[in-house]
């Protein structure tokens, strides 16, 4: 029982670490590039868009998709590693 508990706990810790990593990217892409630093990034041109504007209206969304799928694959690996998959 205690071995199982220990394993469940470290599975959860790793899960939290993965979530935290992706949340940092999530925050940086949307609130960072799209809102807080949008004026600075607008100085850079990107395929005809001011970069900050592009992040705010398109770029952040592409990153969101990437993040969910990265999470799906990370968790599938983690589930197998701890043998908790279905």
């Amino acid at each position: 029982m205690s071995v199982q508990n220990e394993s469940a706990r470290s599975y959860w810790r790793e899960n939290i670490r993965i979530i935290m990593t992706y949340m940092v990217i999530w925050f940086a892409a949307s609130y960072g590039c799209g809102i807080l630093f949008v004026e600075e990034l607008d100085q850079i041109q990107f395929f005809g868009f001011p970069l900050g504007f592009w992040f705010a209206q398109q770029g952040a969304i592409y990153i969101f998709i990437g993040l969910i799928w990265a999470y799906v694959f990370s968790m599938n690996r983690l589930d197998e590693k701890y043998d908790v998959h279905e």
Partner: protein, 590 residues
């Protein structure tokens, strides 16, 4: 063939398809009515979630808002997509493992309290009502335009259709109908967008088209900026909202997305925890196809609108020369013109053309045949264009073929109906299942429960219709308020329910009440009691206040929880159990 006839054929044909599917997949048991028997594959579920999600607000209103407010529209674009990241990582997998029907089910069981459940039911109902009201207005706009009636009559027609549609099938019917609706609505959005992009820039993809360079040698966005400044507007690629308001509004929309009961319930319908994560991934891909196209539609639409109304030389065009769409929308009351300088030309520029921002029409017509209005302002702006018509009017403004215009109408109806149906299901489930069966009278039979569910749907449609006729804002703004409520009430208690083993009934109840009440109070004060923008708390708009409510919810809940006893041992076991994916299939049989 006339445009009207073509529109009726497209809308009628798509309806026949949805109703056919709904009958084919008709819900037999209560369980199927609520969650489609847990057997929907992730791709189909992702598509249905996307249809459920992309409502009249996304389809009709979003591009209009972005078109009129420029870069600030990003709060909606990022908010309504970024929430899926939260949903996939913080909520969906654990709620699927928990394996119940509804959000109040989770709150009630996790916080071992019928008080918590009842408050969650109230939150769910308030959120869904606000949201569905926005949809009814969207449906009303579509029908008013294509049936050539007032928006009020349009809303009533919409109510009748939604009623027959939502009460017929349950979740199972809705899931497969929504897959069909997604296909119709995405086609209806993308076809004109691609046409527009090809026409304006020669790019096939609208996403890259917005960055293209025009024949004049300037980019689309530069042209747009110059046009805007010339007419007295702010530059299109610059923001007007303060950074703090943008930040809070985006956060409210994101967390609200993750807390919306009708979206969360989708993740109960997949077979395994793994599928819940994958479903969120698919849903966001399907949603992003539309959302990344919106900025392009908004940009092209704005250039076309200004050039059509003001003419190539930007001095205005004779009212008698205005194309048919201008007069059709005037008939619906969503466009108005008043000839302030007496030159007979329509001229669009910055500033409200009418007192309070909206025209109030009076009987009779003016010298040029325009509808008379009672409240023109003193400035030089002569035209009122309702933001909500942008997407519907876009193909007409750009002179696209009639079948594209008819397709857009069918898509708009699909978007509004799919979401309205999903929301009505949540409302009727909350009342019949969470309130009647689980709280008031556990002895009612399945049949009675279904009857209560249908009765609740009827009442919901009537109330929603009222708000659709008397809305406190544009479609997307009404809907944004629902998100604020979801972010401040449901979202925090679910997160704490999963990630904290220490969170107890007292904390959750106090948090939900504080979050919901503070947000409602703020919204009511500023939207209905005449509060003004300079009184905003730290410059945060009512749309962004949900984030403040959410923070209050978290702080109050955690403070109260540390002062009261920890939850019982068996609850802590439940929490540990939902964190592990294995066993979700068994958890479903209960």
């Amino acid at each position: 063939m006339s445009l009207d006839l073509l529109t009726y054929i497209f809308i009628g044909g798509s309806f026949a398809l949805y109703i056919g599917i709904a009958i084919w997949a008709r819900a037999g048991s209560t369980k199927e009515f609520y969650v489609a028997g847990g057997g929907v594959p992730p791709v189909a579920n992702g598509m249905a979630t996307a249809a459920d999600w992309m409502s009249a607000a996304s389809f009709i209103s979003l591009a209009g808002i972005v078109s009129f407010i420029g870069r600030d529209g990003a709060a909606y674009l990022m908010g309504w997509t970024g929430g899926y990241v939260l949903l996939a990582m913080l909520l969906a997998p654990y709620l699927r493992k928990f394996g119940k029907f509804t959000v109040p089910d989770f709150v009630g069981d996790r916080y071992y309290s019928s008080t918590a459940r009842t408050i969650a039911v109230i939150c769910t109902i308030v959120i869904s009502f606000t949201y569905v009201a926005g949809q009814m207005r969207g449906v009303g706009i579509v029908f008013s335009r294509y049936l050539h009636v007032d928006i009020e009559t349009g809303v009533v027609v919409g109510m009748v259709i939604v009623f027959f549609y939502a009460v017929l099938g349950g979740m199972k019917g809705i899931t497969y109908t929504q897959v069909a609706q997604y296909c119709v609505l995405i086609l209806a959005f993308m076809v004109p967008a691609i046409f527009l992009s090809m026409q304006v820039t020669g790019h096939f993809l609208p996403q890259t088209g917005l960055g293209a360079t025009l024949d004049s040698g300037k980019s689309v966005l530069t042209t747009l900026n110059e046009l805007s400044v010339e007419l007295g507007f702010a530059e299109y690629t610059q923001g007007n909202k303060t950074t703090i308001d943008m930040f809070f509004m985006t956060a409210a929309l994101m967390c609200g997305t993750a807390g919306l009961p009708h979206v969360i319930v989708r993740f109960f319908t997949v077979p395994r925890v793994k599928d819940a994560r994958v479903s969120a991934g698919w849903a966001l891909i399907f949603i992003a196809i539309l959302y990344t196209t919106v900025p392009a539609v908004a940009g092209f639409g704005r250039v076309n609108l200004i050039e059509t109304i003001n003419g190539q030389d930007n001095t205005g065009v004779e009212y008698t020369q205005m194309p048919a769409w201008f007069k059709n929308w005037e008939e619906s009351g969503l466009i108005a013109w008043t000839d302030k300088n007496g030159d007979g030309k329509v001229f669009y520029s910055a500033g409200n053309a009418f007192e309070n921002g909206k025209p109030s029409f009076i009987e009779g017509t003016g010298d040029h045949g325009e509808r008379l209005t009672a409240n023109p302002t003193a400035n030089s702006s002569e035209v009122y264009v309702d933001r909500d018509i942008m997407v519907l009017a876009n193909p007409e403004i750009a002179n696209l073929p009639d079948w594209v215009i008819a397709l857009v109408a069918a898509g708009a109806v699909a978007a509004a109906l799919s979401t309205a149906a999903g929301l009505l299901l949540v409302i009727s489930t909350s009342i019949a299942h969470d309130l009647m069966k689980k709280t008031i009278n556990p002895n009612i039979t399945d049949k009675q429960e279904l009857r209560y569910a249908r009765l609740a749907a009827i009442v919901a449609i009537i109330i929603a219709g009222y708000f659709g006729i008397n809305p406190p804002g544009f479609v997307a703004q009404v809907v944004a308020l629902a998100f604020g409520l979801a972010a401040s009430s449901v979202f925090p208690v679910i997160i704490m329910g999963i990630f904290s083993t220490r969170m107890n009934t007292q904390g959750a109840v106090a948090g939900m009440i504080v979050g919901l009440v503070s947000t409602i109070a703020y919204i009511v004060y500023f939207k209905f009691m005449g509060g003004t923008a300079d009184q905003w708390f730290f410059g945060i708009s009512p749309e962004g206040f949900g984030t403040v409510g959410m923070i209050l919810n978290f702080v109050v809940a955690m403070t109260v929880a540390t002062l009261t006893p920890a939850p019982p041992q068996e609850i802590q076991h439940i929490i540990e159990d939902i964190r592990i994916p294995r066993g979700a299939a068994e958890a479903q049989v209960h």
